[in-house]
Amino acid sequence: MPPSAAGNNEPLIILENVDYSYPVGDGGFVRALSGCSLKIKRGEFVTIAGSNGSGKSTLAKHLNALLLPEKGKVLVDGLDTSCEDNVWEIRRRVGMVFQNPDNQLVAAVSEEDVAFGPENLGLPPGEIRKRVRYYLDLLKLTEVKDRPPHLLSGGQKQRLAVAGVLAMEPLCIVLDEPTAMLDPAGRRELLQAVTKLNRELKVTVILITHLMEEAVFSQRMVLLHKGKIVMDGTLREIFARRERVEGYGLVLPEAAQLAEKLKAVGFHFQQLPLSIDELVDGLCGQLK
């Protein structure tokens, strides 16, 4: 089990006025983040959404010191990411799953890939074996533990990546567009697994995505647009501002869109439905 952070009331991650620019070919710079401030509590499930070029991946890479802020500060469990001595301590606290499942699996055998992180941490072999067994089982991968990664389905590969990160027992897992290359079945499997981690193991989850329907499992949503945090609130608060959201290049989940259209012709919902089930519940009362 990941180390429990119960009792610690400090936010797990604090961003203070973070600026970051990328160098571009001709010697210039492109501003990717400007003035981002954000606090993420322990055990939260936060979705960070934004369209292409909104800076969401850049933000994600700041959370475990893969990128360092140009201005401002990032604190992870009280550790400043810009202090070089903290880097490895930060990375064992914040694990990261990337978009392309193929390019983050290192070993030629699935179970060895799960062992990769713990081996880097220098854990004793017995402990590594225990963790590998536990997390493979948790992500329903025990059956494929001896297979090379290239023979797994997309969904299985991404769950393997999650298992590999969890085996380091981090406090927080950041998933950077983890479903972009998956089919609907793989996407569902992965999101369910991640939700379970958050609810049962109390791992803090930060999901980066451009699909708002993937946010329905999270408690909080942060919207990024042109490098700035433009909205931060519960899903319902954000979905209620459809026009603003669409202005940022995002679209509401289809169920919410349908609800909006029904509202326009005289139906009303006490609160905006986020899923089809909520929509149907709300409609039944008005139809019968």
Binding site: N64, L66, M96, F98, N100, N103, V106, A115, N120, H150
Partner: protein, 267 residues
Amino acid sequence: MLGHIPLGQFIPGHSPAHRLSPVSKIVIVIVSAVGIMLLPGFYGLLIAGGYLLLMMLFTGGTAVYAFKGLKPLWILIAFTFIFQALAVPGEPVFTLGAFDVTRQGLEKAGLMTGRLLFLVLLASLLTLTTSPIGLTRGLEKLLSPLKKFGLPVHELAMMMTIALRFIPTLINEAEVIIKAQRSRGSDLTRGNPVDRIKALIPFIVPLLAGSLRRAEELAVAMEARCYRGGNNRTAMKQMKMGRIDFAALTLALLFLLISISARLAGW
């Protein structure tokens, strides 16, 4: 199809040979190879053959594939035989054009061909029963004393592991790129040699760009998982030597001893 080259030919199994530690298997193969080379004469060949047969009994039937694997090598074996048969001077048995085939030549040829055959079989027994990743780890362990002399043993092993991991992925990618460019009318069979080489660019550039992108992403992913070289790193799979390893090593050493004695005794 490009995507299905059986790499390394490893056949998974649970025979004693599969259960041996890769380290002892590599040592056994080296010791046995030296033994085979040292054993003189036809009796020597006979002993080596018996020894190999004994080894094969412990592979749970996997050894059959070693014989199947010999097929593509028959040209090499035939060439060895003919070359040796013609190269050695002595009592002529019959004449082949400008060459005399001698008794000594035939004997030498038989011996060399036999040895070559046995060495190939021996090596394939190793790769048939050891996964590429096991081989990598075994080599890393065996070479680790060389770290003291500055050989980057861990890095080499990591490179091999990553190569094993990515070769199938890159083969797949190459296949897709070839199809995609053919769909845009690329043709490798047109024009003079210069044109044909130029026609490779649409395939090579994307493959290279793709590999670089992968390498970059992989490096970031490895860093994110706290990879910082071989120092302070542990391994999940410890290569512990069991009783079976000691038994097998003893057998191999015994074989080497017999070979050395036979050579010294001047068979």
